[in-house]
């Protein structure tokens, strides 16, 4: 075993993979679908990609890829049965694209222990690939947030309906809060109060942006660090299941409102149409982008993949 590792390491040490996490507060907004097809789109452009299913309680990334989910899974790695994370990678339909399954053979796996999470976080960068894409679960548990915060880029899938938007903002608040986990306790407490205040009779609310400008005044020596820390998050919005043309405006609008509320850069990456073909490809157990390569959603996926690639290559 050690010999094999050594043979692999020179290659993987030369360049670490870019890690993208796909998240969003709500379930069913297309996180696995987007992860799978973005990964395949990168693979089609000749990149070496490994998709990791971190939706540990209800993994189905393998299904979006048209795979069975049998074989080695993350729990084999977390329990120590497999020592090299690269041994978990399953081949997919497209060359250079691999997948690490999170299929739930161990029913306890959703409740990652701290050391298990730390082990995973530490070793994601040692996956032998150009890109590692993390498909996260819904919700705002620390296990989900930590992977999202630690990734080089965070992609957020949002659907043009109020429930999804409410959960997206909630998710973002948690992300920013988690990002500052090393800040002094008073700062965190104040920030928590700002972000969780209830809206009362349409009265003025406080935003994270306002909080930061107050911090500028109170702690001029410390505030810039706070700002830098928050703005180091690279966030990208994907509006999914667009029905009408005006839904595509939601991305622009949210980019603006996020900037104002969170004082953070949230880019509008692109949108995907509501399309029955998606359901059909799932039923056929074949990945969407290879089943319907000419469809507009496949084209949009490829466009988004190359936009992000251009950003990473700068």
């Amino acid at each position: 075993m050690p010999e094999i590792k050594q043979a692999q390491s020179p290659q993987s040490n030369t360049r670490q993979p870019h890690v993208w996490a796909v998240g969003g507060g709500k379930g069913g907004v297309g996180k696995s679908f987007i992860s799978a097809n973005l990964g395949l789109a990168l693979g089609k452009q000749g990149k070496r990609v490994v998709l990791v299913d971190l939706d540990l309680g209800s993994a189905n990334l393998h299904t979006c890829l048209g795979m069975s989910g049998s074989g080695k899974t993350l729990s084999d790695y977390l329990t120590g049965e497999i020592s090299d994370i690269n041994d978990l990678v399953h081949k997919t339909e497209i060359d250079h694209v691999g997948m690490i399954s999170g299929a739930a053979d161990n029913l306890q796996i959703a409740n990652l222990k701290y050391f298990q999470k730390a082990k995973l976080l530490r070793n994601l960068k040692s996956i032998d690939a150009d890109y590692v894409i993390l498909d996260l679960g819904a919700g705002t548990s620390f296990n989900t947030l930590d992977f999202f915060v630690e990734a080089d880029r965070g992609l957020i899938s949002v659907m043009p309906d109020p429930t999804s938007i409410e959960n997206t903002y909630r998710f973002l608040k948690c992300v920013f809060m988690r990002k500052l986990h090393s800040a002094p306790p008073e700062t965190k407490m104040l920030m928590n109060r700002v972000l969780t205040q209830r809206q009362q009779d349409g009265k003025k609310t406080h935003s994270l942006a306002a909080f930061l400008s107050v911090m500028d005044g109170l702690h001029p020596e410390y505030a810039p660090e706070l700002r830098d820390n928050l703005s180091s998050l690279q966030l990208h919005l994907i509006v999914n299941q667009v029905l009408e043309p005006r839904d595509t405006e939601l991305g622009h609008a949210m980019q603006m409102t996020c900037n104002r509320y969170f004082a953070a850069n949230v880019d509008y990456l692109g949108y995907l149409h509501h399309d029955k073909l998606v359901l059909q490809s799932l039923r056929q157990r074949s990945p969407f982008i290879t089943a319907y390569p000419q469809s507009r959603n496949a084209v949009h996926m490829e466009h988004m993949a190359s936009s992000l690639m251009t950003l990473d290559e700068h």
Binding site: T205, E249, Q255, M256, V266
Partner: protein
């Protein structure tokens, strides 16, 4: 927790998500996007802003547009803003390739409300400036639209006599608009040779 007004000038560029060197067109587009983003029934504001916040934001948007759309006021503001410049300038989305620009043009732009504040005309001269600022040559437009460069030149020179039928001029203008990232309808409405005639 109070945000003191007057500590630093209100950051119009951040509000509109544009860099300080933004062109006239960028400002008009940003204004339109801002109005859509913060209008009462916008999805994007759901659960994030209260009514009072929105009133304040609406006022700021109008104020920002009234300053940035006026070259004299804008120059004054720039002098002040770039001088104090305490806020970081966000260039969100600048690197991302715009996705199907023509599709994202909202169908709402025909509402009279949206049209207010867009009294500007697009003279041939202005069109040339916009095109050059985007580093697009007439040859490139001619190649993409299959419109002869001769006609494209005539559009920028406002030589109405090259187009015996208005309908051709309108059609060409629309195609020109979509190549340089303008709203085709708006260009047709605000192109001087066409409006003079009516």
């Amino acid at each position: 927790m109070n945000i003191k007004k007057g500590d630093s000038p209100p950051d119009y560029y951040t509000l509109f998500q544009i860099p300080p060197e933004a062109s006239k067109i960028d400002i008009i587009n940003a204004y339109r996007h801002a109005k859509l983003a913060y209008q009462q029934d916008s999805l994007a504001i759901y659960s994030l802003f209260s009514e009072q916040d929105l009133d304040q934001i609406h006022a700021q948007i109008e104020e920002a547009y009234s300053v940035l759309s006026d070259p004299v006021k804008r120059a004054d503001y720039d002098a002040l803003y770039l001088h104090t410049g305490s806020h970081p300038i966000h260039e969100a989305g600048k690197n991302v390739i715009p996705l199907h620009r023509q599709h994202t043009n909202s169908p709402d732009n025909n509402e009279p409300e949206k049209r207010s504040g867009e009294e500007d005309t697009y003279s041939g001269e202005a069109l040339r400036e916009i095109r050059e600022s985007k580093n697009i040559t007439l040859d490139q437009i001619a190649y993409k639209t299959k419109i002869s460069k001769h006609y494209l030149q005539a559009i920028e020179d406002e030589e109405r006599e090259h187009f015996p039928e208005t309908v051709y001029l309108r059609g060409y203008l629309r195609q020109y608009a979509s190549q340089v990232g303008l709203d085709p309808d708006r260009l047709v409405r605000h192109y001087p040779p066409l409006s003079e005639q009516e």
